[in-house]
Structures are given as structure tokens and as C-alpha cells.
Amino acid sequence: MHEWSMAEAVIAAVIDEAEREGLDKVTEIMVRVGGLQQMENEVFEFALNELKGAYGGSILEDARIILEREDAVLRCRFCGNEWKFSGIRLCEDEYEAIHFCPEVSHAYIRCPSCKSPDFDLLTGRGVSIAWIKGVKGEEDGSESEHP
């Protein structure tokens, strides 16, 4: 599943960031999931929790993972029209193709107003890490946020 490879990327990125910031423990990971990529939240969340144990070791064992859905909003570069991905209808194969690679939306989506394929994705492309929280050392256990 594509959800697994993206989950693997998230865990690898969190470990990298924790090492950069000198965190001993990661306590919370906020993952933003853009609507365009159409991730299956249950599978993605399951994969994240499985992989944090497999790859993360003790640094991630207590980390709480929060998924936040973000609507995909597109804006036409030609006429300026804005619309939501959730408001349009495509066939199953087209949805699947966009799931694999959101940029191929340019092959299937046209501006509802002027039919241009030249649009920007304002929000909600794919998976991103909004922030992680963690603790440094054992002295006070205080959390800090790392965007």
C-alpha cells in the first residue's frame, strides 16, 4: 500500500528531526494529510503506529500520532477561480492515479470555470509533518514544539 511507504517516510523524517533537535523522546507527531492524495486514514495510521515501533526504537515508543485532514483547494492560474477537489467527480482510475502521484491531477482536472489545466494547489496536496513535540533530557520533562 502507498500508505505504508508514506508512513515510512514520516517516521524516517521524525527520527531525522529528533536527532537534529537532540530530542530524547518524541511525545507527539502532528501529520497533515492533504485531500488530493486520498490516503486511507485507518491504514495510514495503523502503518505509522507499526513503523514507529519497528524503526523508531525507544525514542518514538510513547509518541502519540495525530492525523489532521486538510481539504485540497485549487486555484486556476488563468482565471483565478478557486475550487475544492472534494467537489469534483472523477472516475475510479483517475482517483487512483492521483493517489499515487497528486501532480497527475493536471492530466485529469480542468478549471470548472474556464477549463484550463493550469492551476495551483493552494492546500491539501499530500502528507506533511505539521510539528513534533518532544523532550530533551530527563531533568524537567518539559515538552518543546518543533515545526
Binding site: A9, A13, C101, P117
Partner: protein
């Protein structure tokens, strides 16, 4: 934070060598040379994958006659095999539709393919690049560390200027250049006369093969063609 960059080294950790085929203008033969080198390396017993990063005009699937194939999904994207080589291309997802991508879209799509493709153990990953020194060249340099660059030139003055820019950029960045292949050679004119001063190897020249078009879509015919056999010799020199 974009998590995809953090997984790239792991995705490429079982890849022996990455050879990125670059060069001058469109139409100099990069894709045919990428495919023919890959097929020859495969016939020599190496495990080979081809990656088409000419995202708006992919063509490796046409050269290999790869119709009706699609990657498997198993904790990532598993590229299908055709004629003994793995093939990853955006064509699986765009089908035959035009996909007008601007710069940031090109980089995002490239990163998406690199972050999610599960190559497995391979000896050679051959990358077909679009012409010139644009987004894909910068992304390969940034994200496909350790790539070696193979430059395709031809005798046209129109090609030479761009080839020189490619060589100058790669040299300035101290990146490995495997050498230059001069394609479509006719008559005495040669771009190599102008390129030899850059201190990079000359891998060989290929004459203009009138019947090469007949082999497009048929990997076995491509391999047995004069073009394919000549590239077999060049491939043996890359090992």
C-alpha cells in the same frame, strides 16, 4: 516538513549505480540510448531498472513496447518488468493524457516517484532525463546522490551549445561524468572536436541508423539492430 526527502537514501540503498542520461536538445536520442544501454546491461546479466523522468513527454514505455502494464502496490510502488528490465514512468498514472506540469509540480512528482518506488536490489538504475539543465537535472543532483552522468551529443551546432552548458554545470559541481556518446553522426562533422577539451571520456559514436524507427516498440529488434549492438559495446565499457 516534507517527509519524503528523509526516505530517499533508504529507497536507493539497494541500487548499485545510478546512470543519468542527459545531454543537449530534445531529439538527440537520450531515451533510445537509455533503453538500449539498459537492455544490453540486462542481457549481460545485470539487474537493471529504467526510470523515465521526462515527466511531460515520457517515451521509454514506447521504446520498450510496454502496453497494458501497471505497477503493483505493496508497501510502496513496485515497478513492473518489461523485456527483463524494471520500468518506472509517470505514464502509468497519466495514461496518454497531456499533463502540463510547471516547475514545482515537476519536482513534486519526481520526489513522489523517488520516495515511493521500491526498486529492490538492482545493479544499474538508468535515468532518462529531459533536455538541458532544468528542474529534473537539479532534482537528480539534489536527491539521487551518487548519480553518474552520461551525456548524449550529436554533430549539430544547435545541440553543442546546450551540451557544453551541461558539461560546465556538472564540472562546476564536481559531479562524475561517465563520458559523451555522439549520436546520429553523418559525414565528417563531429561535436567531439569541440568537447574533447573538457577532459571527459569519449564513449563512442553512433551513425545515423535509417531503420532504427522500425525497432521502436520491439526490445529484441532494438538489441539486434546496428544501434543496439553498438550500444552493447559501449555498455560493456561502463561495467
Amino acid at each position: 516538513m516534507d517527509p519524503r526527502v528523509s526516505i530517499l537514501d533508504r529507497r536507493l540503498c539497494e541500487v548499485g549505480r545510478i546512470i543519468a542520461v542527459t545531454g543537449g536538445k530534445g531529439g538527440v536520442g537520450k531515451s533510445l540510448i537509455t533503453a538500449a544501454l539498459g537492455l544490453n546491461l540486462s542481457r549481460l546479466g545485470f539487474r537493471v531498472a529504467l526510470l523515465d523522468l521526462d515527466l511531460t513527454s515520457p517515451s521509454l514505455h514506447i521504446i520498450l513496447g510496454a502496453d497494458d502494464i501497471f505497477p503493483e502496490e505493496e508497501k510502496g510502488i513496485i515497478p513492473p518488468e518489461v523485456a527483463g528490465v524494471k520500468l518506472m514512468s509517470i505514464i502509468y498514472f497519466t495514461a496518454r493524457n497531456p499533463s502540463p506540469l510547471r516547475g514545482p509540480d515537476i519536482s513534486n512528482a519526481t520526489l513522489e516517484l523517488l520516495a515511493n518506488t521500491i526498486w529492490g536490489e538492482i545493479d544499474f538504475l538508468m535515468v532518462d532525463m529531459p533536455p538541458g539543465v532544468g528542474d529534473v537535472m537539479m532534482d537528480i543532483i539534489r536527491w539521487m546522490r551518487g548519480s553518474e552522468f552520461l551525456i548524449v551529443s550529436n554533430p549539430s551546432k544547435l545541440v553543442l551549445e546546450t551540451v557544453i552548458k551541461v558539461i560546465r554545470l556538472l564540472t562546476e559541481l564536481d559531479l562524475p561524468i561517465l563520458g559523451v556518446i555522439e549520436n546520429m553522426k553523418r559525414g565528417e562533422r563531429s561535436s567531439w572536436e569541440k568537447l574533447s577539451g573538457f577532459g571527459i571520456p569519449f564513449l563512442g559514436e553512433l551513425p545515423y541508423f535509417e531503420d532504427l524507427e522500425d525497432a521502436v516498440g520491439d526490445p529484441e529488434m532494438l538489441l539486434s539492430s546496428g544501434f543496439g549492438r553498438r550500444l552493447g559495446e559501449i555498455a560493456a565499457g561502463l561495467i
